[in-house]
């Protein structure tokens, strides 16, 4: 249980960072932290104490195995997050070229 609570705190840390930080790069880092927390959640759901890796072999038939499906999901979601992070960094670079700053309080041509 303590693991789930710590993982939830990690998610909240990421969310706090996204909502309060003023720097574009710090916002991107906070989003990554949120993503890691979500991935960790998926891995924790599949985890079992004293279980082995889910590869069938002669010697391993008797023992408990962890669920491999969430691990496959996490791999997919890591790839998606990599893409999104690259996209966000590219946008941040272009924003810096246009506004000469990473500070979101100075980047506000849209409002209302």
């Amino acid at each position: 249980m303590i693991l789930y609570i710590l993982c939830f705190i990690l998610l909240l840390v990421g969310l706090y960072g996204v909502l309060t930080k003023k720097d574009l790069i710090k916002i991107i880092l906070s989003l990554s932290i949120m993503g890691y927390a979500a991935n960790l959640f998926l891995i924790l759901f599949a985890y079992k104490n004293d279980a082995i890796f889910p590869i069938l072999s002669e010697s391993a038939v008797q023992e408990a195995m962890v669920d491999p499906l969430p691990q496959a999901l996490v791999l997919t979601s890591i790839v998606i997050e990599l893409g999104i992070t690259a996209m966000l960094v590219a946008l941040a670079v272009r924003l810096y070229q246009k506004y000469k700053t990473f500070d979101i309080t100075k980047i506000r041509s849209l409002s209302g």
């Binding site: 998610l11 991935n39 969430p70 999901l73 996209m87 849209l110």
Partner: protein, 491 residues
Amino acid sequence: MILPYFIIIPLLAAFLITLFSREKDYWSITVSTIASATMLVLSIVCFITLKGETFIYNLSGWKIPFTICLVRDSLSCFMIVIIQLISFTSLLFSVNYIRHISSSWKYYSLFMFLVAGMNGVVSTGDIFNLFVFMEIALFAAYALVSYGGKAFEFEAAFKYAVIGSISSTLILVGIGITYSATSSLTLAHIAQVLPQKPDILVWVGVLFLVGFGIKAAIMPFHAWLPDAHSSAPAPISSMLSGVLIKALGIYVLIRLFFNVFGAPPVFMNIFMVLGAASIIIASFLAIGQWDMKRLLAYSSISQIGFILLALGISTKLAILGAVFHIFNHAIFKSLLFYNAGSIEMAIGTRDLREMGNLKSVLPVTYSTSLIGTLSVSGLPPFNGFFSKLIIIVACVQAGYITYATIAIIGSLLTLAYFLKVQRYAFHGDKLFDVSEKSIGGGMKFAMLFLALLCVVTGVLLIPALRQSMLDPIVDTIFNKTEYIKLVLGSL
């Protein structure tokens, strides 16, 4: 077997465009138009030949618990028809409009990814596969919003991407909890197990409601929409407002909360409250706008509110109204965004205060936008009138007089802010030395085609047509447990 082609064709087109394009954009225009037209014809065939049945396509030859499946039922076919219709007209509109910004193949390639992602979302029967397709569509959308390369477009795209990533993370956590409770990712299996565990259903429901609510831009989660939809190029605005918020937001909410969770009453009440709030607050915000596309974006939030309110009432009549309003909103909101785009291309501004008397110089834009305006504000005999009437009558029949009043006030406010557009943009005494020749034939055709649809789609409510077109969709949504039987039964 027809369903995988809606994912294969756009992905293949995007690949071919990327592979063979030179500096000119003729190849990319040809490939994407052919792909889009083919899919439009296929989608209509797909919808007409369905006759209320459900087909399953198992990917990679495994049986259902071990595979990802595509589900072809009336609701997904209906959404596919809308997506192809709007994407085809958007492509025709893009040909001239995008050359204004830059003639590059990248636009058409990203556009095809957007279509592939949305087709995947509405046709899949697997919740994690839905997440992956949703990310494909969103990724293309982030890039397309910033396509113009101006400072405010990057700002809007960054905001959209940050808020979109937060909601995707919440959805991923929701999928994790669902999997841990049901040991399955197939929607039909989840629908069998999850309603028996009400405490987990509340957790998952809240996570999905917030996650997909952000995608659908319902009222407390709408902050990204006015920026993103007003900054994007006009054909992309119409794709985002016309179909993206419905395919990723409303469709998934319908599929999850009706077919999978079995329409729990507590969430139906939340739907109604959020829908009513969206209608009123977004209408008032729209009245104050001077940027034409921003006004249209706020209007989208308000119309999404109508759909959500009708879904929350969840009687048969209300769901008919919601389904019909999804279709109508896609048509007239895309039309109005095309109008805004052609005005922006002709005189170079989106600010209503700098326009005036455009009816004499842009006659096609003027006449089509008049039809769009009358349709969105719900005046007979245009299609918007019928769907709003059905929603209001359904409110009264179900005994929600307050919500019916809110819907009527929202409809009147819609008329008010669209009359503002008509008054400032098309009437007045400014003189512009432009002619409609600068607007290409594809743009005119797209506008006229959608205006024609605005006039004629009211006939879908004639009982004979309604029974064959709209009623199967309503039945799919309304018969909550039927989905499980249909999907798992047709193995």
